[in-house]
Symmetry: C2
Subunit: 219 residues, 2 copies
């Protein structure tokens, strides 16, 4: 499968490398076609890896992962909007605001979300928010954290969520029962705000290799 990955940071590189390792063709997109980090990644990742602008990566991918820093997400999807028409867009971003020091705050929260903003920016695409609650290494290798723990999907299109669920289970190794469909894209407010807890858990536990498992009473 041909896949676009927006973002040249740790998240984009980790997801891009995993997809290449699985045998897919991946184009890493950034603001320019000659981003140093993207070129270095292509060199390392091999023949199935390529790079280009956001528009190039959007046009290339049958599915596109948005892994840029939250503050650059809307500019990135705007740059790639035409190529994203009709496609599944997996939004992995978090609206982290580092301007007030550490740990970061969120620049949009509780009454709106970056997932919703991206969906509004791409009305013809099927945005699915997922994986944003987990460190990138755990995203593509859930067994780094022992036992049952969960990943969430939020989106308006059931078919798109089914495709993302397949990516999570068949490609990334998540157990079917550990993928929780929260509902439409407005539920991205839940997973984005959860980051505020995740950051404190990281601080308290001293490792980013952590996740939560949702436990419920039996009916």
């Amino acid at each position: 499968m041909k896949i676009g990955v927006f973002g040249t940071g740790m998240v984009g590189e980790t997801i891009g490398s995993k997809l290449v390792a699985l045998g897919h063709e991946v184009k890493m997109g950034s603001r320019t076609a000659t981003n140093d980090k993207a070129l270095a990644w292509v060199k390392k990742a091999g023949a199935k890896a390529s790079t280009g602008t956001f528009a190039d990566a959007a046009a290339f991918g049958e599915m596109v992962f948005v892994c840029v820093a939250g503050g650059g997400a809307l500019d990135a999807v705007r740059a790639g909007a035409k190529g994203l028409d009709g496609k599944v867009v997996v939004d992995v971003t978090n609206p982290l605001d580092f301007s007030k020091g550490m740990p970061p705050t969120l620049f949009v929260a509780t009454s709106d979300s970056l997932g919703e903003q991206i969906q509004r920016e791409l009305p013809k695409s099927h945005v699915v928010k997922s994986l944003n609650t987990i460190n990138c290494n755990v995203m593509v290798e859930p067994s780094r954290v022992p036992g049952d723990h969960d990943v969430f999907v939020s989106g308006n299109d059931a078919g798109a969520k089914t495709k993302v669920r397949q990516v999570l289970t068949e490609w990334f190794g998540w157990k079917k029962e550990n993928v929780i469909d929260l509902g439409d894209i407005t539920t991205a407010r839940g997973t984005e705000c959860y980051l505020m807890l995740w950051l404190r858990l990281w601080g308290a536990l001293g490792t980013p290799d952590l996740n939560v498992h949702v436990v419920r009473a039996k009916k």
Copy 2:
């Protein structure tokens, strides 16, 4: 032990009833000394239960639980401030804002928290944020949800957190290893923002008898 409970709603009643059942003396506080719901609760809960104003309940309790609706929390602790000096104040509130429809948003989030606001309002008290991530029935009976799941404490005073940890484990039945100390009171931003996810989990799973278990990689 003599305990004050601020709030006559489901949370205050559930915690108050549990404390009375454990043999403690509980004074339920509200804006007036003759609140109908508080009087009805006293009648039901028996000889160890009493009611009064917030100031009365604050003066009565050796420890005080703040279980009012988030929007009324600062007024409540202001009314009880004098009686709360030097005491452990367990803040169970969430800053839920229902003015924009359902599910609610938060009226303070990510760069501040209601827990911090309460601590600032009560500089001579030891505020510990806890239990706000869980439905009230599960707060005092964690076995309603099967298996391991966790409760958090946030606060500036280590001694106060130790006391709250004892309440959680020895009185309410939480396992020691399921009480996670997130750090100082600013970490209340984490658990309050988590409510945004909790509300969607409730929607998706169809039961409020749910909680999360934090899983981490072994070091």
